[in-house]
């Protein structure tokens, strides 16, 4: 509780009965409130886009130092204000609570931006979001916006200063009890409530309706005027200059070495000239599991292809099997090659590419984390984004976790 907490509680009990004691107590409370309000030291904490607007508020043009909010301390020990700038994610949740508990004495929280108020754009369909900062720590002021303007944050800070000045005797150290509202689908919930009100209202309206129809039979309904749709011309696509080797040459080179590797037929190309590919369609090879590694070593080491940069290794869940996708780019020529390899089974396995491209380590860890595909020979296959004890692999189409995901209603 700390010394000063008890002091501000017990002073009034002693001084009130004394003559003029009340004015003295109010004087002390005013000064203490004024001091706390005018020297709010924010914690250096920012997770996402709102942190940029918080930095802009701290910069020269908006300059929150005018309010005494200046010494942005990196340690929670010397900070007395957390501005929840940015999305709060489940994994960051308990770190945020420990930060809040590490802060001393009278501490205040501003929830900045709709992510920290209610989960904002990530409310629906996200499995790793905390829908609102006040589910973890008691929030004093909510500043809506995405991100809110620096002036809006300054208005929020002035709002908080008003709150602190009024605090006075009430001991600010008692952490406010806060209840965490359940994660319900607000959108369809409000529709359900409206339907109940609506049925009641319509039930009572039948008699009024006949009387209205009787009184003015020639009632003509109001016709809303539509906004004129502005016409935009149809513009043909500009021919894209394909840098590097043309798709056919690459296909020819690969076809010599791997005759059975076929070209993934892009549905949007015209059907009959399967071979003649327009320059814009992707060159995607469908390869089986056993040729996967040898094809990729060929692509990397081939003298003319020189695919020296691995763009990404990712996967697609095709309901009964997965597609492993490897995207390669040649920085010398500029052409790109896409490789697709189907893997089946509940816990599919494939060789790793980390000895070819060191960057593949992280991409493969992400695919393991989100899809559950094992990469044999991977030096350090752990979950990359989610916590170790996260149930299941979320990017699979059949991932069901009602406790975390709120389905989008429309």
């Amino acid at each position: 509780m700390g010394v000063a907490g008890i002091v501000t509680e017990t002073i009034p009990k002693i001084l009130d009965p004394l003559p003029g004691g009340r004015h003295l107590v109010n004087g002390i409370e005013f000064i203490v409130g004024w001091a706390r309000a005018n020297s709010l030291w924010p914690l250096v904490y920012g997770t996402a886009c709102c942190a940029m607007e918080m930095m802009a508020t701290g910069a020269s043009r908006h300059d929150w130092a005018r309010f005494g909010v200046e010494v942005a301390r990196a340690t929670p020990r010397q900070a007395d204000l957390i501005v929840l700038a940015g999305t709060i994610v489940e994994k960051m949740g308990n770190n945020l609570v420990t930060l809040y508990q590490q802060m001393p004495g009278p501490k205040y929280v501003i929830a900045m931006g709709s992510c920290s108020i209610s989960g904002g754009p990530f409310y629906y369909d996200s499995y790793s979001i905390v829908r609102g900062g006040d589910r973890l720590i008691p929030v004093d002021v909510y500043v809506p916006g995405c991100p809110p303007r620096p002036e809006a944050l300054l208005y929020g800070i002035m709002h908080l200063q008003k709150l602190i000045r009024k605090e006075g005797r009430h001991n600010p150290w008692k952490v406010k009890e806060f209840e965490t509202p359940p994660c319900i689908d607000i959108h369809s919930n409000s529709k359900k409530e409206w339907v109940e009100i609506e049925t009641q209202k319509q039930a009572g309206m039948t008699t009024a309706r006949e009387r209205f129809k009787a009184e003015n039979p020639d009632y003509v309904p109001y016709k809303a005027v539509r906004r004129p749709k502005d016409k935009f011309p149809e513009v043909p696509r500009r021919p894209v200059v394909q840098s590097g080797l043309a798709n056919q040459d690459i296909y020819a080179i690969v076809h010599e070495v791997f005759p059975e590797v076929k070209q993934v037929k892009q549905e949007n190309t015209d059907a009959e000239n399967d071979k003649k590919l327009t320059s814009e369609t992707l060159l995607e090879f469908a390869v089986t599991k056993d040729h996967y590694l040898s094809l990729l070593t060929l692509l990397k080491t081939h003298a003319t292809l020189q695919m020296d940069l691995l763009l990404q290794v990712t996967a697609i869940d095709q309901h009964d099997f997965f597609h492993i996708l490897v995207h390669l780019l040649s920085t010398r020529h500029g052409h790109k090659i896409f490789v697709r390899c189907p893997v089946a089974g509940e816990q599919p396995e494939i060789e790793t590419l980390s000895h070819l491209y060191r960057g593949a380590e992280w991409h493969e860890r992400e695919v393991y984390d989100l899809f559950g595909i094992i990469f044999r020979g991977h030096p350090d296959l752990r979950r990359l984004f989610l916590k170790e004890d996260f149930p299941g692999h979320p990017l699979r189409k059949n991932f069901k976790d009602p406790s975390r995901i709120v389905k989008r209603p429309y």
């Binding site: 340690t75 010397q78 007395d80």
Partner: protein, 362 residues
Amino acid sequence: MNDIAFPTTNAIGDLVRANFPASSAYIINGILGIAAVLITVALIPVFLVWMERKVAAHFQARLGPMRVGFHGTLQSVADGLKLLFKEVLKPAGADSFGFFLAPILPATASFLVMTIIPFDHHLQVTDLNGGVIYVIAISGLSVFGILLAGWSSNNKYSLLGAMRSGAQLISYEISLAIIMLLIVLVSGTASLREIVLSQQGTVLDWWIFKLPGLGLVAFIMYLISSTAELNRGPFDISEAESELTGGFTTEYSGISFSMFFLAEFVNMFVAGTLTTTFFLGGFLAPQIGLGTVDLLFDAVPGFVWFFLKTCFIIFLFMWFRWSFPRLRVDQLMELEWKVLLPINIIVLVLGAIFVAQGWILP
């Protein structure tokens, strides 16, 4: 040579000596002196915190504290009061004795040094004839506070910060001591009052200009090493916010943190006063040689000149801090041992030659 009649007499001291018995008068004078120093030490950080934030703001093209009193004058009062009423936390596993002793040491070190600084002819608590040696000894004390704070708060960042500042303060004390040695050598006395009086005469008699090129070089070296002593400016590697989150003050909150905060600004004031005492002629008014202007300057009491010069030096410290990036630890050590130390030793030797040749009349 130094008993020229000075206009201001030691009025208060004589008053006390007049109507109190001899033994108690000495004690009362001492207590009054200490009280005066403590009051100034309490008020100075309040002013300096405000000055630092306004100066930093104007350097950065912004306004700084504006709303908390006229142009933010009450801002540092609000900060101090808020820190007073904050909860004081001790992290689990922290050694409580060391944890709460640490903030006191740097503050006491700077209070002790304040006792012998000559603010004016008679505005000085005591005048030790070994003043400079006393300053060197006491300024070594603040290192203990920082090391103790770093070790006892059971946090890797504070330990890192404390080790860094330990190495930094120890190595920069050497070049500080060498330059003080040069001043003692050149002015002939070690008592601060005598050093100031040895700079009497026109502005050119100040040590910064008296020794031809030497004084300026020594002044710059002194500025650099005293910024490093303060853990400020390009040398704030001990509480580097962007690396060690808070350095040795990471685990301190409330009143214990405000002791470190206060000690930093009092130290800055002390470093400013020492620079003015050694190089800019302490409380002496700058005589330029034009008759009327000299009289006008003389009319202004000594301690006003003293504070003006100190504020200019403090402004320089702030200017360094807000214009340069931070040095790395090993670059800092390299700067001290490979750049400052050789130059200081050369300056000391040249100073000795000047004195031996008798070019400067101490």
